[in-house]
Amino acid sequence: MTPFLIIIVIALLAVTGWQISKIFELSKTPDADTSQVANNKDNENQGKLMMGFAVFLYLLMFYCFWTFTNVTLPDAASEHGGKYDNLMLISMLLIMFVQIVTQALLHYFAYKYRGAAGKKALFYADNDKLEFIWTIIPVITLAGLIIYGLFTWTDIMSVNEDEDPIVIELYAQQFSWTARYAGDDNTLGEANVRFIEGMNTLGVDQEDSYANDDKVVRELHLPVNKPVLFKLRSQDVLHSAYFPHFRAQMNVVPGMITQFGFTPTVTTEEMRNNDDIVDKVERINDIRRENGDDSYEFDYFLLCNKICGQAHYNMQMKVVVESEADYEAWLAEQATFEESMSEE
């Protein structure tokens, strides 16, 4: 990495030095052209630089894709995430294709048609056929993308109640997350900030019998291959519940309940053995060893992705995806809301 940086800096310095030397050169000649309007020589040089810039741009893109792809997120760990990744791949290929073609044309034309004395430009004001072609091609392509995107969107956002998803409340406050499982009845008890008192930090309505079997926890456990429906609630400002590995995100809005559902498909254990993650964790641990930090083991996480105050950067919760048996065992250990209230 550092060598690349050094190369950039040197290249930039070289360009700068070369240009400065040009200024001196120009200022020395007694009959120098001082009009400050580009002359033949400028057109020649700058036109070539345009081509050079195109080369730089392609190398930069190539370098970024080559070296940085390994920092990007691994394959999705949720059911809809596969569709998400597909759509992303198609869109990416499409825009990279357009990018490569248009940037090449732009910079090549800038080089090829660089000005020269006596050159005549072509008076070419319009061509309806061309205009039509490059209107209709984006129309068709975008229509395809829109339709594909909208089907996926509807699919992701509509919660299928028949599948009987596990209902979990995610409760956001500056600067932490809390989860409330709906318990055996799979129905959350009513809650409002006006009920917050003592141990009852989520403001759950103690009169509501649905609340009794709710379980309030600080770590999120999810059974693999079971649909989950998150109900999101905030007690103070806007937050956003972002699960990057599950391709899931929804804002948490004080005064209303928002929701997002997905089905995790890869357990934490399996993800730790995913090739990309193994690589990534190895790299991370190399860096951490150098800095003298503890070694790191992969875990899913939930983070806050809407600016929410000074410790916004550290508002996170660990997420564990495990087999249904492990999940049930873990859940059974957690105290119900009724139990924790009676301890008080």
Binding site: N45, V98, P138, M157, L238, Q249, N251
Partner: protein, 606 residues
């Protein structure tokens, strides 16, 4: 009709030389003259730009080398950087004010304020704006807004720090973040004045374009710059009042206990009395301005590019009418796409579908514009002046940044890149860098018109090439941070070991940002030294067709010494030839708009 309207202005000019002498104050400070107002906007905008870009360098240093001590932090941030380590609060404040200054003060006022004022009267053949007084007022309200915004940096609890989008409740409650106290109040006051300034300016631009065009200057003969400024002004007039209403309601919530945006809030151990409001309402109101705003920023830049590219290619802009149609289409669509900022805000997913549809539609006119620029270069005789380089650079960054918009505008794909660095990379390329390039192209191109002198071209070349390399170096790698799932507005990423391997990319980005920012000093030096010591400009240094180059180099009140010019043709008769292959005017590859049709010349209905 325009002749009638212009008659009094004309008389006024004739009087002017004999009667009142302009004092320093009426000439340089409270000037009614559009050319002076334009210069005032430009210089104020540039100074604000230095502040805005400087802030970005500070927080980029923090992101590359988190929580390390730097003397520069201690020197500039004082109590906000104890022992030279930046605090999270000031980090958020810097991010917020950087966004506000760059979007509103530099790219809205500095870009469209400058060039609308300078070019509208000059290019349509008018003596001045419809109302010189309102024009002056527009600048001074802007100036006041700048002063208040800068003052807010020095208040006890810090400046506004809830992001430039100031979403409540964070921006409404000082208990939630220090900057939402006095700092936020000043932010809102400053923005209210700014909006008033924009509205006064906008009405003026619209009226001037509609009423004060000189004889022969039909709407379809207007240079594309004017079309862009015209549509921009309409967009501003439609959307800025909505931001003002959002700001007013927010002021009510903050100071008078109303509950437009607040509901069910528990902070600092107590329940607030607010009930029934919705932050989502604020998001709608904010983005109803916020999205047209990005087109308010980019359209003038595209207009400037059209003009500069055509002039320097010595070719007509390709597809003039398609370009106008694109500007109109972008203008219209931009008012109905705001919801793509809110796909995951909790609004109804069906609305998300609608906004995906309208958003992806806007890619069509944008694509048409990009293709037309490329075709304009084709078979041209490209004069590589610094303005031209920046225009080509603009097309390049506009494409790169615009393409990622296809990903973000798709509600499905937005789910996982929303509010990550992918978004930051996207909008900086497509509206930040592109609009700045438009601003630079405009400054290099019209500097001779503004100051009667030429800017140094070699310094211009250095400025362009280092900026072009640096800007891509900053923003291309940044996409990968976003695709790694890294959220924006994080003070440091060290709280997540998972992001540790992104540290290298952050260093690259910061180093490029510092280099790019430093090379802007070359521009600043070139700008100010050329103002005084630059080579004296000729009347039409770029051999351009538009009317502003028919005015004398020395500025006079009323622009043209004698009669107003009459227009006989469109602005793009570059390299037009007769049927025998000779230029229409022998030995000259351009035909200015005020030259009547020549014998043997083919009328192409432009």
């Amino acid at each position: 009709m325009s002749a009638v309207v212009n008659a009094p202005a004309h008389d006024h000019h004739e009087d002017h030389g004999h009667h009142h002498k302009q004092t320093f104050i009426s000439k340089y400070i409270f000037s009614f003259d559009h050319k002076m107002v334009a210069k005032q906007f430009l210089i104020t905008g540039l100074l604000m730009g230095i502040v805005g870009i400087g802030m970005s360098i500070l927080f980029r240093i923090q992101l590359a080398w988190p929580e390390q001590s730097f003397a520069i932090f201690e020197a500039l941030l004082g109590k906000w950087a104890p022992e030279g380590v930046m605090t999270p609060n000031i980090y958020l404040a810097l991010v917020t004010i950087h966004g506000t200054i760059m979007v509103f003060f530099v790219l809205t006022a500095g870009l469209s304020g400058t060039f609308s004022n300078l070019l509208i009267p000059l290019q349509i053949g008018a003596r001045d704006m419809a109302s010189g007084f309102m024009n002056m007022l527009s600048y001074w309200l802007f100036f006041l807004a700048c002063v208040i915004m800068l003052c807010s940096l020095f208040v006890e609890a810090g400046p506004a720090s809830s992001g430039w989008t100031i979403y409540p409740p964070l921006s409404a409650l000082p208990q939630a973040i220090g900057g939402s106290g006095m700092g936020m109040t000043l932010w809102l006051v400053s923005m209210a004045l700014f909006i008033a300034s924009q509205l006064l300016g906008g009405i003026n631009y619209i009226v001037t374009v509609i009423n004060l065009r000189t004889k022969g200057m039909s709407m379809t003969r207007l240079p594309l710059t004017i079309w862009a400024f015209f549509v921009t002004a309409i967009l501003g007039l439609v959307s800025f009042p909505v931001l003002l209403s959002a700001a007013l309601l927010l002021i009510m919530d903050r100071s008078f206990g109303t509950s437009f945006f607040l509901s069910d809030i528990f902070l600092d151990g107590e329940v607030l009395s607010h009930h029934g409001g919705s932050p989502v309402l604020f998001e709608h109101l904010f983005w109803f301005l916020g999205h047209p705003e990005v087109y308010i920023v980019i359209l003038p830049a595209l207009g400037i590019t059209s003009e500069v590219v055509a002039t320097n290619s010595r070719k007509p802009i390709f597809g003039y009418r398609a370009m106008i149609a694109s500007i109109l289409a972008i203008g219209f669509l931009s008012t109905i796409v705001w919801g793509h900022h809110m796909f995951v805000s909790g609004m109804n997913p069906f609305l998300g579908s609608v906004f995906t549809f309208t958003t992806l539609l806007i890619a069509i006119p944008s694509a048409v514009k990009a293709f037309n620029y490329i075709t304009t270069l084709w078979k041209g005789n490209l004069q590589m002046n610094p303005g031209m380089l920046f225009s080509i650079g603009l097309v390049s960054t506009f494409i790169t940044g615009g393409l990622t918009g296809i990903i973000l505008g798709d509600s499905t794909l937005d789910i996982n890149v929303h509010d990550t660095y992918f978004v930051v990379a996207h909008f900086h390329l497509v509206m930040g860098i592109s609009a700045l390039y438009g601003l630079f192209a405009g400054v290099y191109h019209w500097f001779p018109k503004m100051f009667g002198r030429m800017m140094n071209k070699n310094l211009g070349y250095i400025h362009f090439w280092v900026t072009a390399v640096g800007a891509y170096g900053v923003f291309f790698p940044m996409h990968f941070l976003g695709m790694a799932g890294l959220p924006r507005r994080y003070y440091t990423n060290t709280a997540f070991p998972y992001f540790d391997d992104l540290a290298d990319i952050n260093v690259i980005v910061t180093v490029c940002a510092i280099i790019t920012a430093l090379v802007q000093l070359v521009f600043i030096y070139n700008f100010f030294s050329s103002m005084f010591y630059g080579k004296k400009a000729t009347m039409n240094p770029w051999k351009s067709n538009t009317l502003e180059w028919t005015t004398p180099v020395e500025h006079i009140h009323g622009n043209w010494p004698g009669e107003l010019p009459v227009v006989y043709r469109w602005a793009y008769d570059y390299s037009k030839t007769n049927s025998d292959g000779e230029y229409v005017i022998t030995g000259q590859d351009y035909v200015p708009q005020n030259i009547p049709m020549q014998e043997n010349e083919e009328d192409l209905h432009h």
